[in-house]
C-alpha cells in the first residue's frame, strides 16, 4: 500500500507481519500488540526498527514503558466512523511525548486527514490511486484552528493576541 510520510510518498521501511508469520530478513517489522507483548525481546534483538499495530480498541497506554524503543505505532481505523485513533495519537504525542512515526491504516477518508495530522499522525497508508495533491489540499482546506492539539499550531486565540 502506498505510504505518505512527511508529506511525500516514501518506501515503506516496514513490513506488517501477521501473527504466526516469519519476520522479514532486512526490514523493520510491524506486529500486532499481542505478538509484541509475547516476543518483545526477540523483536528488539533483531536490531531493526520495531512497529506495533494497535486495534482501535487498544489504548497505547500499554506501550508506555516500551515507547522509547518503538519506531512506529500504527493505529487502525476499522471504520472511518471510529474516532478513537484520534485520541490515541494525541495521547501518544502529548502525554507520552512519542517522537516516532504514528501511522494510520484502514478505513479513513480524505476529509479526516487534516484532523489526523493535527492529532499527531505523520504517516498514512493510502489507496493506490490516491494523489499527493489531494493530500496537500486536504491539509490546507482550513487555514486556522480554534483549539490546541498535538501539532502545536498557533490557535485562533493565539493569532488574535498577535
Amino acid at each position: 500500500m502506498p505510504l505518505i510520510r512527511g508529506g511525500q510518498f516514501v518506501d515503506d521501511p516496514f513490513f506488517f507481519v501477521p501473527d504466526g508469520k516469519a519476520y522479514p530478513d532486512e526490514k523493520g517489522a510491524i506486529v500486532t500488540l499481542a505478538r509484541f507483548q509475547g516476543e518483545k525481546e526477540t523483536l528488539f534483538a533483531r536490531g531493526l526498527p520495531v512497529g506495533v499495530r494497535l486495534a482501535s480498541s487498544e489504548n497505547p497506554q500499554v506501550l508506555k514503558a516500551d515507547l522509547p524503543r518503538i519506531a512506529a505505532v500504527v493505529l487502525e481505523f476499522p471504520r472511518f466512523r471510529d474516532g478513537r485513533p484520534f485520541s490515541w495519537a494525541r495521547m501518544l504525542r502529548t502525554r507520552f511525548a512519542f517522537k516516532g512515526e504514528i501511522r494510520a491504516t484502514g478505513d479513513f477518508l480524505y476529509d479526516q486527514l487534516a484532523s489526523m495530522a493535527r492529532t499527531g499522525f505523520d504517516a498514512f497508508e493510502v489507496r493506490q490511486d490516491f494523489a499527493l495533491d489531494d493530500f496537500r489540499r486536504a491539509l490546507a482546506e482550513m487555514t486556522n484552528v480554534y483549539q490546541p492539539s498535538a501539532d502545536g499550531r498557533r490557535t485562533i486565540r493565539d493569532l488574535r493576541a498577535g
Binding site: 484520534f86 494525541r90 493535527r118 482550513m142 480554534y146 483549539q147
Partner: protein
C-alpha cells in the same frame, strides 16, 4: 452579541467551500452516500422522508434582526416560505435541494451564521438559557462561556467522530430553563463559598431510548480551567463510549455504567494532565474580551410600573391583553423592562414554525424599538429579551397583527412537538397533528388559565426530539403493526427539579389520545389542593394510580 472577527469569518467561509467540495464529490459519485453521510451531517444536512433538511445553528439561541431577515430570505428563496425552530434552539429548513445547500451556507455566512455541527456524532451546537442576560434570577450571562465552548468545539480534531452525538447546554440562573440535566454535558454558572463564580458540570443526562438525569461530575471548576475540564470528559467518552451498539453509544450509558465516583475519578486524572499542560487555559483577558460582546444594552432609567404584582410583573397595562401579560411577559433584571415570549404555538398551528413574512416583520419590529436581539427557546418559541414596558402596547398590537401574540406561554397549549412522521424518516408516528388536536381541545383560554402551568411534550419516536420524557405530560408515538399509537407519560420535568416521566400503560390510538389527555387533566383539577398546585406537584403528591384509573375511560378500560 458576538461578532465575527476576520478569523471567525474566514473559518466559516472556508468551511462553506470545504462543504461545496464535498457536495460536488457526492454529485459526481466520488463519495458514496455512506461516506457522504457523516460529512453532510457535520454540516447539518439530513436526508428526510421527502427531501433534504438543513439545520442551521443559532448558537445559544441568539439572533440579530439581520440574521432573522436572512433566515426569512433562505425560507423564501430555497424553501417553501417557512422555517421550523427546534428544541435545540436551531432552525430547520425542510425542503432545500442538495445542489443549493452550499449557496445557502454562503448566504448564511454573510450574516455570521452556519450549520456547523448541528448534526453528526460530534459536539453539537451549544444551547443556553433563552433568558440569558435578562433574567432576574441570573448569576451571570451564560453566553460568553457558550461562545468559548462553540469555538473550542468547532472542527475539534479529536472529537469529530465520537461514538454518538454530544450536546452541551449552559445556564447561569437558579431556575433551569435550559434542561441542563437532560444533556450529555451541562455547565451551570455557580458561586462558591468564597464568592467566586465558576462552573458546576453535569454529565450523562439524556432522553431517547434510555433516559437518564445527569449527575454532577464536578461541583466547581475554576473559570480558566473549564475547557481543560470539558476536554477531559470528552476524552473519557471518546475512548470508552460504546461503539458496538448505536443505542448504547451516548455518554449517558457510559456514565451510568461507570457510576458517578468512577467517572469523577477518570475525568479528574485526565483533567489534571490537560490542566497542567496549560494549553487550554482560558485567560481572564480572553474571558473579558468575549464577555464584552455580550454586555447588556444600556438600560434606560425607567420607573417601575405601580401595578406590579408580587413577582415584579405588570398585571395591568392599558392596551395589552391581560392574558398575554400573565403568561408571555416575564420579570427582567432592569427596572421598567420585561422579557416577552412570542408563542409559536397558535392553536391549530405547527409548533415552532414561523413564516418568512413573520420573521421579516419581527426584524422590523426589533429595529423600530431598538431591540438588538431575539432568542430562540428550547420550547420552540421566540423571546424578546429586553423590552421596555412602556413599549408593550405597541409591541403587543403588532404581534397580534402577525398572529404571534397567542397568550399561552407555559400553558397546556404551549406544546413541544418534534416534526414526526410528517417529515422525519426516523419517526414511527405523527406528532404535529396530535399537538394540533390537543391544542384545539384546550383552546379555551379561561380553561387553560384554570389549568395553569402544564407542559405537554410530544415525540414521534423513541429518539425523543420532542422531549417527551421531560413533559409534565409526555406523549410518545409508537408504531404497532403499521398503526400509530401514543403512550402517555406523566410527571417528567426538564427544569431544576428534573425527572423522567412514568409510562401510564398501553398506548392510545390517534383518535383517543386527546380524550385521554383531557381525562388526565380533569382528574388533576379534581385532585389538586388549590389553583397554585401545578399538575406536576399534584402528580408528585398522589402518584400515577389516580390518573391511570381514569385515563383509559370506561370503553378503553374494558378493552385493556
Amino acid at each position: 452579541m458576538y461578532r465575527y472577527d476576520e478569523f471567525d469569518a474566514r473559518f466559516v467561509a472556508e468551511r462553506v467551500e470545504q462543504f461545496r467540495g464535498q457536495v460536488a464529490r457526492r454529485l459526481t459519485g466520488e463519495l458514496t452516500e455512506d461516506q457522504f453521510k457523516p460529512l453532510r451531517l457535520m454540516n447539518g444536512l439530513y436526508l428526510q422522508l421527502h427531501a433534504y433538511m438543513l439545520r442551521v445553528a443559532v448558537p445559544y439561541g441568539t439572533l440579530s434582526p439581520k440574521q432573522l431577515r436572512m433566515l426569512a430570505h433562505v425560507a423564501r428563496k430555497y424553501d417553501k416560505g417557512y422555517g421550523h425552530f427546534t428544541t435545540r434552539q436551531n432552525i430547520q429548513f425542510n425542503w432545500p435541494r442538495l445542489v443549493d445547500v452550499p449557496d445557502i451556507l454562503a448566504d448564511l455566512a454573510t450574516v455570521e451564521m452556519h450549520a456547523i455541527q448541528t448534526s453528526g456524532n460530534c459536539i453539537r451546537n451549544v444551547t443556553a438559557d433563552h433568558f440569558a442576560g435578562a433574567a432576574a434570577d441570573e448569576i451571570e450571562d451564560p453566553r460568553p462561556i457558550a461562545e468559548i465552548i462553540r469555538q473550542w468545539s468547532s472542527l475539534h480534531p479529536e472529537f469529530s467522530f465520537l461514538p454518538r452525538k454530544f450536546k452541551i447546554a449552559v445556564s447561569g440562573a437558579a431556575h433551569d430553563r435550559a434542561a441542563l440535566k437532560f444533556h450529555d454535558m451541562a455547565v451551570e454558572i455557580v458561586r462558591n463559598g468564597a464568592g467566586e463564580t465558576g462552573y458546576r458540570v453535569y454529565v450523562g443526562g439524556g432522553m431517547g431510548r434510555t433516559p437518564y438525569v445527569g449527575y454532577v461530575v464536578s461541583d466547581f471548576v475554576a473559570k480558566p480551567d473549564i475547557l481543560s475540564f470539558l476536554e477531559a470528559v470528552m476524552r473519557v467518552y471518546n475512548e470508552q463510549g460504546r461503539r458496538d451498539n448505536l443505542f448504547k453509544a451516548r455518554i449517558k450509558i457510559l456514565a451510568n455504567a461507570l457510576g458517578a465516583d468512577e467517572m469523577r475519578r477518570q475525568v479528574a486524572v485526565e483533567f489534571e494532565e490537560i490542566r497542567t499542560s496549560g494549553t487550554l487555559t482560558v485567560p481572564a483577558e480572553e474571558l473579558a474580551r468575549i464577555d464584552a460582546y455580550f454586555a447588556p444594552p444600556e438600560f434606560e432609567d425607567l420607573p417601575d410600573d405601580p401595578a406590579d404584582g408580587a413577582d415584579g410583573m405588570p398585571r395591568d397595562i392599558p392596551g395589552v391583553d391581560p392574558d398575554f401579560l400573565a403568561t408571555n411577559v416575564h420579570p427582567h433584571r432592569a427596572k421598567g423592562y420585561c422579557i416577552v415570549t412570542i408563542s409559536l404555538k397558535p392553536i391549530g398551528g405547527v409548533p415552532g414554525d414561523a413564516t418568512a413574512e413573520q420573521m421579516d416583520a419581527l426584524a422590523d419590529l426589533m429595529d423600530e424599538h431598538g431591540m438588538a436581539e431575539i432568542r430562540v427557546s428550547h420550547e420552540q418559541n421566540l423571546v424578546l429579551p429586553h423590552v421596555r414596558r412602556k413599549d408593550l402596547p405597541a409591541i403587543h398590537a403588532r404581534l397580534t397583527e402577525l398572529g404571534l401574540a397567542t397568550p399561552n406561554a407555559g400553558l397546556i397549549t404551549d406544546i413541544i412537538a418534534c416534526p414526526g412522521l410528517d417529515y422525519c424518516d426516523l419517526a414511527n408516528a405523527r406528532s404535529i397533528p396530535i399537538a394540533q388536536k390537543i391544542a384545539e381541545r384546550f383552546a379555551d383560554l379561561d380553561r387553560q388559565h384554570h389549568i395553569g402551568e402544564l407542559k405537554i411534550k410530544i415525540s414521534g419516536c423513541i429518539n425523543a426530539c420532542g422531549h417527551h420524557h421531560a413533559g409534565h405530560i409526555g406523549i410518545l408515538g409508537v408504531d404497532k403493526k403499521g398503526v400509530e399509537f401514543y403512550q402517555l407519560q406523566l410527571g417528567g420535568s426538564g427544569a431544576e427539579d428534573a425527572s423522567i416521566g412514568e409510562i401510564l400503560g398501553p398506548g392510545f390510538g390517534k383518535d383517543e389520545i386527546a380524550d385521554a389527555v383531557e381525562r388526565v387533566v380533569e382528574a388533576y383539577l379534581t385532585l389538586r389542593q388549590g389553583p397554585d398546585e401545578r399538575f406536576l406537584d399534584t402528580y408528585r403528591r398522589v402518584g400515577i394510580v389516580p390518573f391511570k384509573n381514569v385515563a383509559y375511560g370506561q370503553d378503553l378500560h374494558a378493552a385493556y
